[in-house]
Amino acid sequence: MTTVLVVIAPLAAALLTMLFRPLDVRRIARIVLAVAAAALPLSLVGRADWLSLLFAGIVSVIGFLATVFSTGMYSVDWGRGRAMWTRKSVYFVLLGTFWSAMLLVVLATNFGALWFGIAATTLATAFLVGFSGDVSALEAAWKYLVLCSVGIGLALLGIVLLGRVSLELGLDPAHALEWSAIAQHHLTKAAPPAALATAIMLIGFATKAGLVPMHAWLPDAHSKAPAPISALLSGVLVSCSLYAIVRTLSVAETLGAGDTFRQLLLAFGVASIVVAGALMLVQRDLKRLLAYSTVEHAGIVALALGFGGPLGLTAALLHLVGHAFAKSAAFFAAGLVQSASGSTALSALNGQWNRGLPGRFLLGALVALGGLPPFALFVSELLVVAAGIAAHQWLALGMAALGVMLAFAALARAGIAIESGDAARESGVRLGEQPSGMSIGAAAAALVCAAALAVVPWTGALR
């Protein structure tokens, strides 16, 4: 029952907020209720497993930061007196639905509930991606809906095939889709359709994670959504999809299909890093650059999982957590820059460093995403390299290194533009509203988390 409460809390909080009529009171209620919803997963300590708790923590913290950022960022937009159903309240209800669906994904104990959570994220985010009503945003939402629906359809197909394997192993139908029940079987030879079932599940979840070649929806959806939604899509939803892949990997290994699964992960990982790295170099829009960077980082996680072993898993998990915070910080900062300058074109970034906190946060986030110290991604990428060396996967490691260098070059170019020159003053870019303290605080908090996580490997928490 507690898990159900934890899962529905963000949605319930968004709905409850609508009962407060004066807009100022509603804003305060929104933050207070979001704090409560974000803190609730702590009640599961000792009951849920550590992996679920880790991801529930990521979902809750970034879900909360996105709510705070949105409350600050959109304080002047959409205000329509005392109406209950404003356009803004619909936005927050969809945000709450998205947050709840992601909690369902990470707190589920079986693939059926996990699949339902992944499918439910589509329900909320298709509308959030197209929320601006701009035709390009609607088309991005369409692309997202179609490609992700194919992905989740395939994932369901894989799950029912997995159910057949479980039943043939003698599992009770009520527990046939539970990974803990399947883990009790240790097979030396693959159960016949296990490799096929887990491979189809991988393709399905990889579509939602944006791994190449199923990535076509991601740059459009992530760049057209409002900034806090982009942060959740890139930082958290991709992490939730990769979490589903981690769970599927554990089941594939139990069923004797781990080698095939890891080979597929290596192929998806290398392709994602190289393709995204190359495409990052030709981007002209900051949010599209960040979206392709998400594909690259999802590829690094897939690569680490493909290398296998405890080192590969540790690297993948640290990378996932570090990326979630760094990418959220980057999208928050991009939202602040967009709010202040009215543009997300890379050409408008020149001299942003001198124009205040948004540009500085953005540069910090780009440094984090580039894998430089003191951020967690620096440590996790070192661990990925170590895992690759331990697995003797020289070709995959070499190709991935090439892709990472391309991505680094693209991020460095954007970073140099931010730090140098003051062309933004001369380019005729419209000066917009100044971002609120709440939004700046959310961006700062995400960036601090991305840096603070770098100390995790030395605490022994991931051993």
Binding site: G130, S136, A141, W142, I152, L156, I159, G163, A176
Partner: protein, 203 residues
């Protein structure tokens, strides 16, 4: 045997035909026959039966009416405007039939009854997504894909009908209603509902 033959013909119609109305009829035939095949597995528990009934209402009544109404009100939606010529579409049908026949030969799948049929429906759904340019065809393709997954679930793991039916119902709900809502929002800017217009977004 009659059911298999009808599904084969209706599946080919989905890929080859260009009239939205006829394709919706072919869709109803496929989904109806899949429901007939799936029905016995859903009778074991009342919860499963409820999910099954809800899915049938959504797939066989709500979705076709919504698609039909949409096509009736928007002239541009009456043709699915295929992206490839008739000979190539016929080759796609043959390729789908051939690929579906191979599925029972995959180790572990040979013992599943109707495995080839389920694969055929799934592949027809995927084919409809790529051979037509009208956005409505993509909604129909996703619905057919979902029916194929339902059939695959029912024939491969008949003891897990709740998971399959709940998944199918949710899938249909998401695809039909979000899909049509987005199409409706886009129609003013993209009156032909042409997938080609999405190319301005480069993935």
């Amino acid at each position: 045997m009659t059911i298999e033959l009808l599904i084969l013909v209706a599946g080919a119609g989905l890929i080859v035909d260009t009239s939205t109305a006829r394709v919706v009829v072919a869709y109803v035939i496929i989904v109806g026959l899949v429901a007939v095949l799936a029905a016995p597995a859903t009778l074991s528990a009342s919860l499963t039966l409820a999910f099954f009934a809800a899915t049938c209402v959504l797939k066989l009544v709500a979705a076709p009416i919504a698609l039909w109404e949409f096509a009736r009100r928007n002239a541009a939606a009456r043709s699915l405007r295929p992206a490839i010529g008739l000979p190539v579409r016929l080759i796609v049908v043959l390729a789908v039939v051939f690929a579906a026949q191979l599925v029972p030969r995959v180790p572990g799948l040979g013992s599943i009854s109707h495995a080839a049929l389920a694969a055929y429906v799934v592949l027809c759904g995927l084919a409809v997504l790529v051979v037509h340019r009208n956005l409505l065809a993509q909604v129909i393709g996703l619905l057919v894909l979902s029916s194929g997954v339902t059939l695959a679930g029912v024939v491969s793991a008949p003891q897990l009908p709740e998971a399959v039916e709940l998944g199918a119902a949710f899938d249909v709900l998401v695809v039909t209603f979000i899909g049509l809502a987005l199409v409706r929002a886009m129609i003013t800017e993209n009156p032909l509902l042409d997938i080609e217009s999405l190319r301005r977004l480069r993935g």
